[in-house]
Symmetry: C2
Subunit: 97 residues, 2 copies
């Protein structure tokens, strides 16, 4: 499955507002909606949060690794899925099921 297909699969889920794929240096590679301007400080915050979570997991067990991060706020949910060279994050409406 290529990147476009994966992005389509995620962004057609009900409630998905935004999707961003960030490289290992914290720079956005792909975004949805494409037209929307990205807030660079928010992308940087996402990148730093994923890094902090990964360090925490590895502190507990150096053989373990971060697989998924879910941040729930009052109105939204941010899901982060780290890859080898990138992090993809999507922001959905609603709270935990």
């Amino acid at each position: 499955m290529d990147c476009q297909e994966i992005m389509k699969r995620i962004t057609t889920h009900r409630g998905v507002k935004q999707l961003v794929i960030i490289n290992k240096d914290g720079l956005p590679l792909k975004t949805f909606p494409e037209s929307e301007e990205l807030d660079e400080s928010q992308v940087q915050s996402l990148h730093e949060l994923a890094g902090a979570a990964r360090r925490m997991v590895r502190d507990v067990d150096p053989t373990d690794d971060l697989m998924f991060l879910r941040v729930c706020s009052k109105t939204d949910e941010i899901l982060l899925s780290p890859g080898k060279n990138s992090v993809h994050s999507h922001n959905c409406e609603g709270s935990l099921p």
Copy 2:
């Protein structure tokens, strides 16, 4: 429901390995199992991660707030629930349902 009852309710869930309640300065107030020695750097990492997630949520929308944080690793899951003056975190076996 008092703190002991809430702790009991959480720690009797299947797969719960550890529970820690941290105050707003990052110091552990209560732990389960009580006998187990806490790694202070891990508690500090949890505290910092919750702070970073809260900042990120408020950056996006200053009227919003962090409600829940879920960190999934290959083998474990760390759940963080921030309160006004404390954060409680529990570590469970297994991955996302």
